[in-house]
């Protein structure tokens, strides 16, 4: 039973329909050529080798240099990219891509099907964290002529067509990366691609610079003369850079929510939460379900009742988000996969319900009104998580649980939670991505309880029923049947509450109103900015 776990973009029937495209996405007026765009990228990417690392910030910069075979519109329908057309055979095991003509890499050499073959088979399939699975079915790629690449698959893989963006599967030049060890390649941080911008330099700790590619295969583009990505460690300083117009855009909540609320009032600044539809993150509280006291479902439910989701959204995240109801993000409402017909923990008298549950579960209040003590770990990805942890600590005190907070750094926390399972309660956030198969299954399936792998089933909760529901849903092609399976899945998971679903997080992009044309696909900042322009 193949579960397509780590493919980037989903099974066709799971396409969330994004209807209204905001007005300013359609460029106001005619694009003006020229100008230098300054992006704030946080944190600094560790490398530019997007073929080898899916670290978040890499996607913001590498995508200006590398491109993919396909692009996508706001309805997640594949559009021509480096491939001008493609066709899938009847049995789904052969996909033929016809490539664009006259595409050159930044060093002048032509882009051909040999590069496609090399990239997929020798690089992505071997070193890309998600590529290992995305291209599992690809046995070989035939290159009958320089403009044709024929993928021969061992079995149908409809999800694969959604994983061919410049972000997920960048096309590399074989004549550069073909020689030498791909894992330690000297050109890893000096990328050579086909994209609208050429890499010029990277001053570590300061900035990356990309200049316009004058020989870009889309005539007349890009409009911008230059893109500079700046790295600023301090949150307040990042906000100041946008305020003084030293920078024009900062995405993925690089500007902290509190500053966003302040900046959006300024006449020259706009904010948007669009462009993150492929991520769908959910903020949650994870329990260690194999140890006391959270091996008892009643205790877990009590905690789920005790959290005031609105308070958390309004005060810790300054209003960016919606209360979460279950393991699947409400972004999937349009596809029918999402249901809100589950146990509702978001009730006004939550604390009272929680107290009663704990009393019934046999945890009576002892000295000082404390039922029992726990340690609450805080995920080390920023200040908001600390405030969230402090809030939960206070709420738990109201239901008689004395929680001690613990801060650790990233490697320590990861090891504790996903390798040693040495925790009781931790807060966390997970990207559920564009299809439940990719982002959601990994958190609840018994096969994904793997010590040493991060961001998978760390609570170690599973049931044969939910496993079966997931397995059937991943191969179900009938949309209605699939929806029914996932509805049942959500009901069961929310009832057992191995995770408290707090809220659906909204990433925010803060940008100067002078910047237009950057939001042209659901990939948002992960797109190549060939249509972006600055109003003078």
């Amino acid at each position: 039973m193949r579960v397509a776990r780590r493919t980037a973009l989903g099974v066709l029937s799971a396409v969330p329909l994004l209807c209204a495209v905001p007005a300013y996405v359609v460029a106001q007026g005619t694009p003006q050529a020229g100008g230098t765009l300054v992006m704030v990228v946080q944190p600094e990417p560790p490398t530019l080798a997007s073929y080898q690392s899916t670290s978040g910030p890499i996607g913001q910069v590498a995508t200006k240099v590398y491109e993919g075979l396909l692009e996508y519109d706001f309805e997640l329908k594949p559009q021509p990219g480096l491939a001008r057309s493609w066709s899938v055979s009847a049995d789904g095991k052969t996909i033929t891509f016809m490539l664009q003509e006259g595409v050159k890499f930044h060093d002048g050499k032509p882009f051909t099907s040999e590069d496609v073959k090399f990239t997929i088979l020798d690089v992505l399939k071997k070193t890309h964290p998600r590529g290992l699975n995305t291209f599992r079915a690809v046995e070989t790629i035939d290159t009958p002529n320089p403009l044709t690449a024929v993928f021969r698959l061992s079995e149908p893989a409809p999800y694969m067509l959604m994983a061919l963006s410049g972000y997920e599967s960048p096309m590399l030049p074989k004549h550069v990366f073909g020689t030498g060890d791909i894992a330690k390649h000297p050109s890893a941080d000096r990328p050579v691609g086909t994209g609208p911008f050429r890499f010029v330099e990277w001053q570590k700790g300061q900035f990356m610079r990309f200049d316009r590619n004058p020989d870009y295969w889309k005539k007349g583009r890009p409009y911008l003369e230059r893109i500079v990505a700046r790295f600023i460690a301090d949150g307040s300083t990042r906000a100041a850079a946008l305020e003084t117009q030293e920078a024009h855009i900062a995405g993925f909540s690089a500007v902290l929510p509190v500053d966003v609320r302040r900046l959006e009032k300024m006449p020259h600044i706009a904010i948007t939460t669009r462009g993150y539809e492929m991520q769908s993150p959910i903020v949650e509280l994870d329990f260690n379900t194999k140890a006391k006291p959270f091996d008892d479902a009643k205790v877990r439910q009590a905690v789920a009742y005790a959290v005031d989701r609105k308070f958390v959204i309004d005060n810790v995240w300054f209003g960016f988000g919606r209360p979460a109801t279950g393991p699947i993000n409400s972004n999937f409402k349009a596809t029918g996969l999402y249901t809100s017909d589950v146990t509702n923990y978001n009730v006004p008298n939550g604390v009272d319900v929680a107290n009663k549950l704990l009393d019934d579960a046999g945890y009576a209040r002892g000295a000082g009104g404390v039922r029992f003590e726990i340690v609450h770990d805080v995920t080390p990805y920023g200040e908001e998580w600390r405030r969230f942890g402090e809030y939960v600590q206070q709420q738990l005190a109201k239901i008689g649980i004395k929680a001690t907070l613990r801060y650790e750094d990233v490697p320590t926390w990861l090891r504790r939670v996903y390798t040693n399972y040495d925790y009781q309660l931790t807060n966390n956030w997970i990207q559920t991505l564009a299809d439940p198969v990719i982002g959601v299954h990994r958190l609840y399936h018994s096969k994904l309880i793997r010590a040493g792998t991060v961001f998978v089933n760390g609570t170690r909760w599973s049931t044969p029923e939910t496993d079966s529901l997931m397995d059937r849903a991943s191969v179900e092609t009938d949309a209605k049947k699939r929806a029914t399976l996932y509805h049942e899945f959500q009901k069961r998971v929310v009832q057992e509450s191995p995770i408290v679903f707090v809220h659906e997080l909204d990433f925010v992009t803060v940008h100067s109103k002078r910047l237009q044309g950057f939001l042209v696909s659901p990939l948002g900042i992960y797109a190549n900015f060939d249509q972006a322009w600055l109003q003078k």
Binding site: S55, A241, E243, D409, V454
Partner: protein, 326 residues
């Protein structure tokens, strides 16, 4: 005399070698205490990684080998001036450190010069007008600037001079979008240097002012001062020709100590102002468990401190001939 000084210097350098070794081993040991390794960090950043991928990563970094093997390898490399490879940054450590050393040195030398210079002047001024209003004002200001947390001062300076008044840039070392060269570039860097340097100077200034003042006060009880006065020198001459030279010694010691702490103290300022220096790099590498890089930074700063201490001791002996260089 010169021979003795050279012998002293040579001996100190030789003695420094085992110190450096101990430091490297100690740092290495401390960093082993921290759970989690570079592979964990990269996996965390990537957002997902299979066990196979992580095993691959560990192999690549040599993290799967026993501790003593890694230590031995590292020490051996240091001896041949190879500081290793930073897998997180995909660059040789030496290259990374060199790139960031410049900005840090620039910041700290400016701060040191400003702080010591102003401190000596203000301290002498305060001592000269002991217990009168000049002394009180200077001492008060010194204490005030010392008591203000550095990051708070930095943030406030940004809010006032950068955001509200627009006189200085908010962060960074240069205007990245402009790509200046030559004198324009130097001027641009100087412009960016002002706020971070001032922020840090305010803090160190207090130290040197007060130390200079206390030192002069203490020195003025010495017999040679009475002698000088008896010889007919006025107060100003006494101060300039006699007191200053001797009173400088504790300040020199403190400055030597501070110079040795160049990197760490700047971490906060570098964070607030995004100044691309070693302090910030070290902080990042600690949390990224990039051992090679962190050890490289520690090693470089260790060499720096040894050199500076040596220089201070020799300068000290120069100023106070009664001290023997043993």
């Amino acid at each position: 005399m010169l021979i003795a000084k050279l012998r002293f210097a040579a001996r100190r350098v030789l003695l420094a070698a085992p110190t450096l070794l101990v430091i490297v081993v100690l740092n290495f040991g401390l960093l082993q205490l921290a759970p989690g390794d570079a592979a964990d960090v990269l996996a965390g950043e990537a957002g997902a990684a299979t066990p196979e991928y992580m095993v691959q990563l560990r192999q690549k970094f040599g993290l799967d080998q026993p501790v003593y093997v890694r230590l031995a390898k590292y020490v051996g490399n240091i001896a041949s001036f190879d500081l290793g490879f930073s897998f997180r940054h995909n660059q040789p450590v030496a290259q990374l450190i060199l790139a960031r050393l410049g900005p840090t040195l620039l910041l700290m030398v400016s701060v040191l010069l400003l702080a010591v210079g102003a401190g000596v002047l203000l301290g002498a001024l305060a001592a000269r007008h002991l217990n009168r209003w000049q002394d009180n004002v200077i001492s008060l200001v010194a204490v005030l600037t010392y008591a203000t947390p550095v990051f708070w001062a930095g943030l406030m300076l940004i809010v006032v001079f950068s955001v509200k008044l627009g006189w200085f840039p908010t962060s960074g070392m240069e205007a990245v979008a402009a790509f200046h060269t030559g004198w324009t570039r130097i001027a641009d860097i100087a412009h960016h240097l002002v706020l971070p340097a001032v922020t840090l100077t305010l803090f160190y200034l207090a130290l040197y002012t007060r130390l200079m003042r206390a030192s002069i006060i203490e020195q003025s009880t010495m017999d040679y001062v009475t002698t000088a006065r008896a010889k007919g020198l006025n107060e100003r001459q006494v101060l300039l020709w006699h007191l200053l030279r001797n009173a400088c010694l504790p300040v020199l010691t403190m400055a030597g100590v501070q110079a040795g702490a160049l990197l760490g103290g700047a971490v906060v300022v570098e964070t607030v102002f995004a100044w691309p220096g070693l302090g910030l790099l070290a902080y990042d590498s600690l949390f990224a468990r990039d051992l090679n890089l962190l050890l490289g930074i520690f090693f470089v700063s260790a060499c720096l401190v040894v050199a500076v201490n040596l220089a201070v001791d020799m300068l000290y002996a120069l100023l106070d001939p009664r001290i023997e260089l043993r």
